[in-house]
Subunit: 286 residues, 2 copies
DNA sequence: ACGTCGATTTCGAGG
DNA sequence: CCTCGAAGTCGACGT
């Protein structure tokens, strides 16, 4: 059986199911009225309210309210969960050491407890990260500037690792800092820090610093300017326009456009409809 | 009724419950085998696997696997959820604009759908944040150094807002940067940035920079040293030792220690046990 | 909206 | 372990 649910269970029955879940590596959820206490790197206290608590077999615990992407309280993976019943309350305690942290959830009322058996072997593939931007530049260093030649990535300096280290057409060392999105002052400071460190390594070599990102804020631009640092506008993924991809003619345009624009159509072109729900689109919600 | 659950529902029944949940401001969860596609600031694709999907009435959607504190995919608050059935799959689409982002979850198998009515008016109280550190310093500026006098917090400069701006015993301007935990190079750079900005405002005033944090990494210490910046070790919350609170003698030490060490005992000192489960402690799990 | 920065950030890589 | 930096970071607060 893959899912076990108890509706308005007695505390002892809820406890029993949680014990099974914790022992058998199941994902467990508890919904009900509870309070939460946390103590560790910081401390917090949360009064009574209805929340969804998620306990993962890797030792994660999440306490979710009806708002926000972030759990109101949590414990990261690697913790030890324990459930108990005391003073008429179902309690879940999650502990870890280094740092020493404790999370305590106390339910005064339990609406539902569920244990799920989870099987998931798929990995997420993601594009548009800083690493994509790095690959893009290593593939075509001229995107930074004509004549730019990458020498190393993640090159260590006294101030930390430099994203891309290289040399320009004139043979001057170039420090490149990459950001996948629009950057603020901190990125300018970071680049400056690296440039100064490399400058100490190569005195009088005229080390240059280039920030590569889609855009910069005004303040960041001023900070770069002030320090003689440069900016190159570039996004992690190139324009979808295939003309830009291969520099060729527009022969492939239609094919590429078809793939992109086809996301909506794709909804209809699976195998033959297994279930006939017609236009089963549901109304939406804010 | 506060919770509605469907076990292994037909897609159309699952759809119906989701529509109700979306329409009535309920929190909904769906567990089953699904794939997930995301496109927006970045793009991602996730193959088939069992996941717990949480849809909040504020427009948040979370896709959780059995591992990690972070959802493998998500959409932040403010999105619009839509459910539908096509090609024999229950689909949940979450969209938003600015930035334009779409999340699509397609279930090939649904183990359970639940709609929860949530009532939660409690707010979290948290201690140990950077703001606590700031308050601590404003309460007792001597913690930074004897003679330090705060003038402003969040004081604007050309490089950004300074945590605490003040003056030292000699009347020199002091820029204080606060961190609630051990800091690395970025904090040193940040402080330096502010100090230079203030230095431009008060030429030849000998602006000082002080980083206040529990500790610094070696590299950060070197960067501070290099730039003539200072470090003061201080934690967001003072020692639990009450001697430090009021500067009194040690009379209260034992009481305070009792409170600290008493977290375990506290489990027993509520009101009279309402339910008798004896030592109902359950076994734990990694 | 955009800018700026904190966070119980979490996460992953590397030493 | 610690250090360091990225993240579809999120979230809050300000302009």
């Amino acid at each position: 059986m893959s899912v076990t649910t108890l509706h308005r269970p007695a505390h002892r029955d809820a406890l029993s199911l949680l014990e099974t879940a914790f022992g058998d590596g199941l994902l467990a959820t508890v919904f009900g009225r509870c309070t939460v206490e946390y103590d560790g790197r910081a401390s917090s206290s949360l009064g009574p309210g209805d929340r969804l608590v998620v306990c993962k077999p890797d030792g994660t615990i999440l306490v979710h309210t009806d708002e926000s992407r972030e759990p109101v309280n949590w414990q990261p993976p690697g913790c030890t969960h324990r459930a108990s019943v005391r003073d008429g309350r179902l309690r879940i305690r999650s502990e870890r050491s280094s740092p020493d942290e404790t999370l305590d959830v106390a339910f005064e009322r339990i609406e539902q407890v569920t244990a799920y058996e989870v099987e998931d072997r798929s990995d997420l593939t993601l594009t548009g990260s800083e690493e994509d931007l790095r690959r893009r530049i290593l593939d075509d260093p001229g995107l930074v500037e004509p004549g730019f030649e990458p020498i190393a990535t993640e090159r260590e300096t006294a101030a930390g690792p430099v994203d891309v280290f290289g040399s320009d057409e004139a043979g001057r060392p170039v420090v490149v800092e990459l950001k996948r999105r629009r950057v603020g002052p901190s990125a300018a400071s970071q680049l400056r820090r690296y440039v100064e460190a490399v400058d100490e390594e190569f005195p009088d070599a005229g080390v240059r610093g280039v920030l590569v990102a889609p855009s910069v804020t005004e303040r960041a631009a001023a900070l770069l300017e002030e320090r003689g640092l440069e900016f190159v506008a570039l996004e992690p993924v190139g324009e979808r326009d295939p003309e830009a991809v291969d520099g060729g003619d527009g022969a492939a345009v239609d094919g590429e456009d078809a793939e992109r624009g086809g996301s909506e159509d794709a909804e209809r072109d699976g195998e033959a409809d297994a279930e006939r729900d017609g236009e089963a689109d549901a109304e939406s919600e804010a």
